[in-house]
């Protein structure tokens, strides 16, 4: 089978797949079953209200499946470790890149605190509204990316990233172990989580704390990945 025929075959199969998808979505939306069949969601909502957290998804991600989230951030850690091993060059020559103009530099300095604030907001409000640690961390990493591409001599210190990441990982496991000690389950909710407090900022016991920890870890790891990719690009 030559390449052209293969391409034509993939075209046809792609069109077939796309049309099947379109028909399915037509069916789903026109029957409005997307909005009526949420009984599983209702059951989860009823369960999650025991923890006093307004956002059911956060309760599932951080509390019911908290151990899996620990594995997830471990996967992210291994990914950033691999990128650092392959790409990091501590003897990178700085100042080879062309200087960016003053508008970009000034605006990056102006915008970075706003982006940081927005990332922290999304991290802290993860148990009240959609969002949370993963999203907030990536927003902080995008702010670091803005500083990195605008300024020539900006550099995230390796030690800071190491300290933040180690602190976040250790405190995640530590909170889980305290839960194991006090309530006989890993990541047991040992802080007060009254249902009457639901929807307020200080509610849900350990769940917002864990999401903030996840945010710190994701933010530092993503900044590390972005910085390694960019610095490797400068002197190759």
């Amino acid at each position: 089978m030559n390449l052209k025929r293969k391409l034509a075959l993939s075209d046809i199969s792609g069109f077939a797949l796309a049309s099947v998808l379109v028909l399915t979505i037509f069916n789903v939306i026109l029957q409005n079953s997307l909005l009526t069949q949420n009984s599983a969601g209702n059951a989860l909502l009823a369960l999650s209200s025991h923890e006093g957290v307004a956002n059911a998804v956060t309760t599932v991600v951080v509390y019911f499946r908290g151990f899996d989230t620990l594995g997830e951030i471990a996967v992210l850690f291994i990914a950033s470790l691999g990128i650092g091993l392959i790409l990091e060059n501590p003897h990178a020559k700085q100042g080879k890149k062309e200087e960016s103009n003053f508008m970009l530099k000034t605006a990056a300095k102006l915008l970075f605190p706003i982006i940081l604030l927005f990332g922290i907001y999304i991290m802290v409000y993860g148990h009240l509204s959609p969002g949370g640690g993963f999203q907030g961390g990536v927003i902080i990493a995008s702010g670091v990316l803005l500083l990195l591409i605008s300024s020539n001599n900006f550099h995230m210190p390796h030690k800071l990233i190491a300290i933040l990441e180690t602190f976040a990982g250790i405190s995640y496991v530590f909170i889980g172990l305290i839960g194991l000690l006090l309530l006989d389950t890993f990541l047991g909710n040992f802080l007060p989580h009254d249902i009457s407090q639901m929807g307020m900022l200080f509610s849900g016991g350990i769940i917002p704390i864990i999401y903030i920890i996840v945010g710190i870890k994701v933010g530092s790891e993503m900044s590390f990945i972005v910085q390694n990719l960019l610095q490797r690009g400068e002197h190759d």
Partner: protein, 108 residues
């Protein structure tokens, strides 16, 4: 009265968006497209923000923040994209007369 004024501002903003969309299709090279795609969308977004704050007065402060943010970022991104495309020497129209960025670099 306030509602009518708000709707007038909103429709003016949507009209500016429409003009910028048509301009993106009609303009010949990247620099004129950049002109259309950011100048008129900035004014269109500001008009929509003014209309929204007239229709819902309790949102006015949040919308003011939004307007400041748009005024900060939209011209900046257009400037950066235009400079980058000038740096990789994207061709411009044949009947363009002056290249001010090149002249300023030669003076330096």
């Amino acid at each position: 009265m306030q509602d009518i004024l708000g709707f007038v501002f909103l429709s003016a903003g949507v009209g500016a968006f429409l003009v910028s969309g048509i301009g993106l299709l009609r303009m010949p090279d990247i620099y004129t497209r950049m002109h259309v795609g950011t100048k008129s969308t900035t004014i269109a977004t500001l008009l929509v923000v003014i209309g929204g704050s007239l229709l819902e007065p309790q949102w006015a402060w949040k919308l003011l923040l939004l307007a400041v943010f748009i005024l900060l970022t939209n011209p900046l991104s257009s400037s950066v994209i235009a400079r980058a495309s000038h740096k990789i020497s994207t061709p411009y129209l044949n009947n363009s007369k002056r290249d001010a960025l090149k002249e300023s670099e030669q003076i330096k």
